[in-house]
């Protein structure tokens, strides 16, 4: 479910390649990601393994942000001139 929400947002970012919207989407995606980590079962297990929330968050966020930026770049290349 979480993945679908994030994917939908990324798709929205792709069709609306405006930098401010992209930035907002990245922010929302990161907040969703943080909520997902906080509410998942894995946070306690990873805590028991000595892994900090910050590290989990950073490791999870890097690919998400990279994906969003890539979506933004592709969107701008494809649709930018039309906007």
């Amino acid at each position: 479910m979480w993945f679908l929400v994030r994917a939908s947002l990324a798709a929205f970012g792709l069709i609306l390649p405006v930098v401010r919207v992209q930035a907002l989407i990245v922010l929302v995606v990161l907040i969703l990601l943080r909520t997902e980590i906080r509410w998942s079962h894995e946070d306690v297990m990873l805590g028991n393994l000595g892994v900090s929330h910050l590290k989990i968050y950073a490791l999870s966020a890097v690919p998400v942000v990279a994906l969003e930026i890539a979506a933004g770049v592709v969107g701008r290349l494809l649709l930018g001139p039309a906007l």
Partner: protein, 239 residues
């Protein structure tokens, strides 16, 4: 009662917590001593889970502090405590739904360089479910797998939130036996729950969470003799 001596391996002292203006914990204290099983009793909504989650840094307490193995934490974090020997088994489950159990166990065993995984799994009777995903296990199997994981970790302080809830009555004595063995090895254990008979049989030390605070009732015999505890928690049936 606020214990202050060094015999306490883990001490969460004067923890307070409010949710949206509603005070759940006014000033609650819990502790764990090596080789001792401490049971936290309390009605639903009394704040047992909140106390544990604040003590481990999974919730931010409004006030209070945690002392573990001689070090004080104003803002404790589970990962920091875990690196020094704390292991937490929450009531909502510990196992990941995304990974097969053998992979999860391998991660724990490798992280803590444990060599007792096979023995622990056989002791808990869950060695046959390793190829399955966590969500396909029954409640009892899941709890036993979590205990096996805790055993593989060999923690110095084990905190379990309602570990007997999904265990069948006939298996509760066995689970208690496993916790007893860990305690005999020097592990400091904190357990919460409502199964008064089973937990009274397990407890060395009893804490009662009531009215946003905690009362250290002492041994099970002392707890059973506590008039208010009997009247308000155990009820007329007694133990």
């Amino acid at each position: 009662m606020t214990p202050g001596s060094n015999e306490y391996l883990f001490l969460a002292d004067s923890i307070g917590k409010s949710f949206w203006g509603k005070k759940v914990l006014k000033s609650a204290t819990m502790w764990a001593r090596p080789g001792v099983i401490t049971v936290l009793f309390g009605l639903n909504g009394s704040g047992k889970t909140t106390l544990i989650r604040c003590a481990l840094g999974l919730l931010r307490a409004d006030h209070g502090m945690v002392r573990y193995d001689g070090r004080s934490y104003l803002r404790p974090r589970l990962h920091r405590l875990a690196r020094r020997g704390v292991f937490f088994v929450p009531d909502r489950g510990l196992l990941s739904r995304r990974l097969r159990l053998d992979r999860q166990l391998r991660v724990v065993a490798e992280r803590f360089e444990a060599s007792n995984a096979k023995e622990r799994l056989e002791r808990l009777g869950v060695s046959h479910v390793l190829s399955r995903a966590a969500h396909t296990l029954s409640g009892g199997e899941r709890k036993r797998m979590e205990l096996a994981m805790a055993g593989i970790r060999k923690p110095r302080c084990l905190i379990l939130d309602e570990p007997l809830t999904e265990i069948e009555p006939k298996d509760r004595g066995f689970v208690n036996g496993v916790l007893r063995e860990m305690s005999a090895d020097g592990c400091a254990i904190i357990v919460t729950g409502h199964d008064v008979d089973d937990l009274m049989a397990l407890a060395d030390d009893v804490i009662w969470v009531v009215g946003g605070t905690t009362h250290g009732l002492g041994t099970t015999e002392e707890a059973k003799a506590h008039h208010q505890f009997r009247r308000e928690y155990i009820g007329p049936r007694g133990t």
